[in-house]
Symmetry: D2
Subunit: 137 residues, 4 copies
């Protein structure tokens, strides 16, 4: 069992420093070695017609959650970028907060693979994601 | 050979009516039956650290390009939603405009499958996407 | 909590009736509602050069494991076919038995989505799969 | 424009040397720099119930076609393995020969990305595949 190489406070700082993520208001809820959970607060500005949480919001949240989950294994100074990401949209979330939790399933020094789940406040699985990250030197 | 069931002007109107897409400033460049190309203008606000066009921007553009490509086959009144989307990030685009072109490869009355390519102004393939859409009744 | 709508004995019979799967010698290990585990016995005839379990073998096992997992929810008489399948090959398995376990994450009357894990006898995750099935009427 | 680094004759020899592929009777139809086409002859032994060409057969053919397409860029002596593969099954092929053609879209010295199309003898797109390969040293 390894301990996390990044604290919630450190991951929050990483998020704050990413201007392009500001519109999403993502909040780090918790983290542990290889895992990170984000809150995606419901915002009318991010909805599709009909009050549905947009797919872009869920994909963005999953991408960030995995990025931070990797930091729990590798710290916050390396550069890791998404090389592949697949999302299955399983249910529409209507005017709901979402918790997005990423899990690293295979950890390497150059590539990482994992899953993320976007779950509504009422416990429904809205989207399931699989992601591959690569380290850039 | 079928003719497009949506004009560039109609697709531009669809885009204008989507408030959540406003930050991306996507512009419809051209369309034809089963195909739609968007311009993703470079914007510092959408970049990752280092001036790299963010993956979220490319995924969002591909998702929208496919949505509009479907409208060239089915018109603009039906409701189609993304059910699955995979993106391979192949190269980083630095401070570049991007053209994202979606192609429907299999067209059905309930599901659509296609690809999209995000290509930099200098002609490099930055990302390749495959998408499945489903019609909601 | 639902009970499985197919027993291990019934799933074994389904497998026996599939001539095209005979070369893989897949064996049903266990099942429960929404879950099915298969044993993929190591066979030199299925290996790639170097004694590596072939990717085709793992993909085939995951596809079948999900098919049977769906039967635990829907019984054995409906026709379900794979509509989409993605596999991440994470480690090479050399001359090992593999256990492939599929889990349905989203169950619908027309589509099913789930994951499968191909794990070596020594406990290593060799491949991770995500699958979508559709029901054919 | 580069010329192919492997001839049809060389690729045929590579296939003949893979015992685990023998059941599929794959035949190299043509190749060029970054492209390879295989014939997948219809065989009752590979069918699913109802005379449908099995998904495993199409996935196997696409995986091999991409492997050989990489050889047209890199020659036949390096070791390249599939790291990720996704297949969308778009139509059922019934008792038909299939041509599977792989195209490398992004060529690197360590990773390759491309698509493959499985097309029936009557010209229908049965399955669409995207694949990532990695070089093993």
């Amino acid at each position: 069992m390894t301990t996390s190489k990044a604290s919630v406070a450190e991951l929050k700082k990483v998020l704050r420093d990413c201007a392009f993520l500001a519109p999403y208001s993502l909040q780090v809820v918790s983290c542990d070695s290889s895992v990170c959970s984000l809150l995606v607060p419901y915002q009318p500005a991010l909805e599709r017609p009909g009050g549905i949480v947009s797919g872009m919001t869920l994909m963005g949240a999953a991408d960030v959650a995995m990025w931070l989950a990797i930091m729990t294994l590798r710290g916050t100074t390396e550069t890791w970028v998404t090389s592949d990401m697949k999302t299955a949209f399983l249910r529409s979330g209507r005017e709901v907060d979402v918790i997005c939790t990423a899990n690293v399933l295979k950890s390497g020094s150059r590539t990482m693979y994992g899953t993320a789940e976007s779950i509504s406040a009422s416990g429904e699985l809205l989207a399931h994601h699989v992601l591959t990250y690569m380290r850039v030197e």
